[in-house]
Amino acid sequence: VRLTSELAVDAPLERTWAALLEADPPGGAWRGILNGYAGSVHLDDVDEDERAAGFYAQGRELRGDGLASARVTARLAGDAASTRVLVETDLHLAGRAAELDRDALQEATDTLLSRLVSQLEHTLAASSEPRSPAPEPPAPPAEPPPAEPPAPPAEPSTPPEPSPPAVAPSSRKLDLLVAVDKVAERALLLVVGAFLGLLLGRSIWGRR
């Protein structure tokens, strides 16, 4: 199944791009368990010229025969104020999950991606405020701190992760980078969630 979604992130392009890439997964992949699916996300390729990144997500239902894999390409465009992300997903499902229809998949993907965006924005905003003198990564010169997101739900830097994050924040990174790292890490776990957990788990159970 091919799905495309477009979303807007209220953060400068360079910064979103850095957040997407700065994470350096140990062992080459982020792993996690979400909604009954054990999944991993691997950063496959990066096109610095075109600001595009390809991910490969894979998941297996812990109790059952559900199998899912997705090739996800995220293309970024934007300016110093905001970023547009075009997400193309090539999803392969097997087992029970394969019974879902396309609309349900698209809907679940969109819901999840919009949640991902608000979380990303929130954390980017949170991380840009408290620690001022932390040297920036290859971030842009001047970044107008994005307006405080209205909704309080997304927690700040140390949220109780729903899954055991098999990711130890690498000590060599600066505070800010760790924060950014966490965004990316969480974003990616959410991608796993999107394609493999919530989408498959919740939508299936919700519809029956």
Binding site: G27, D44, D45, V46, E48, D49, E50, G54, Y56
Partner: protein, 265 residues
Amino acid sequence: MKPAPFEYAAPESLDEALVLLDEDSRPLAGGQSLIPLLNFRLARPGRLVDLNRVAGLSYLRRREAVLHIGALTRQATLERSRLVAERWPLLAQTVPFVGHPQVRSRGTVGGSVAFAEPSAELPVALAALDARFHLRSSRGSRTLSADELFVGPLMTALEPDELLVEIEVPPQPEGARSAFVEYAETHGDFAIAGAAVVVAPGDHAAIALLGAAGKPVRADAAERAFVEGAETARVAELAAEHAPDGHRRALVAALVREALERAAA
């Protein structure tokens, strides 16, 4: 059979790994070629330096139009990559010929190159793409072309303490078309001969041969003939001159013809 005893080291940084490499040690990447050799005791290194924990050796990155392939990038990653399929289709066309999916999920691009198995597919494709190979050792670093790196069957210019860290592939010319073909008794088995071609309007032709010389070779006379507008049969005949005997010559000629036709299709 089981391997002869060896010491095992799993460094976490490139510098640590480089210090551990010497005459008596072998780097271990995906292990798809080395482990069988150890099991048959055809190789008996005193120490294996496992690179799998070394950070930052696995990536596919396009920067200023050039593709950078980390040596530890799995063949399966190369196979899945849309970036590679769109801009360096020859690599995407070649990887499915490497072993079987299980092998590719573990096997690395750098391993395929550094092992220099004469029937390996990726070195031939990389030779056709004018790839550059970055080597590092604790003494320094250097960059070689395919012709400089590959010396003969299972032989490269890599010194015992050197490690292949990155492969750089230049952008493909505008309108480039490519194809990879090979002949093996069964799919996934060692290929007997093969050809990788890239042709582009204007004056670009790259024809690299597998199984002709114990290492990847560029059929330069055939390339020139192609650019000058020679017929496909003539180009194939010139390429076949690199092969050692009648049987392989016929094979190489047939495969080059097929590759050129596919690239033109």
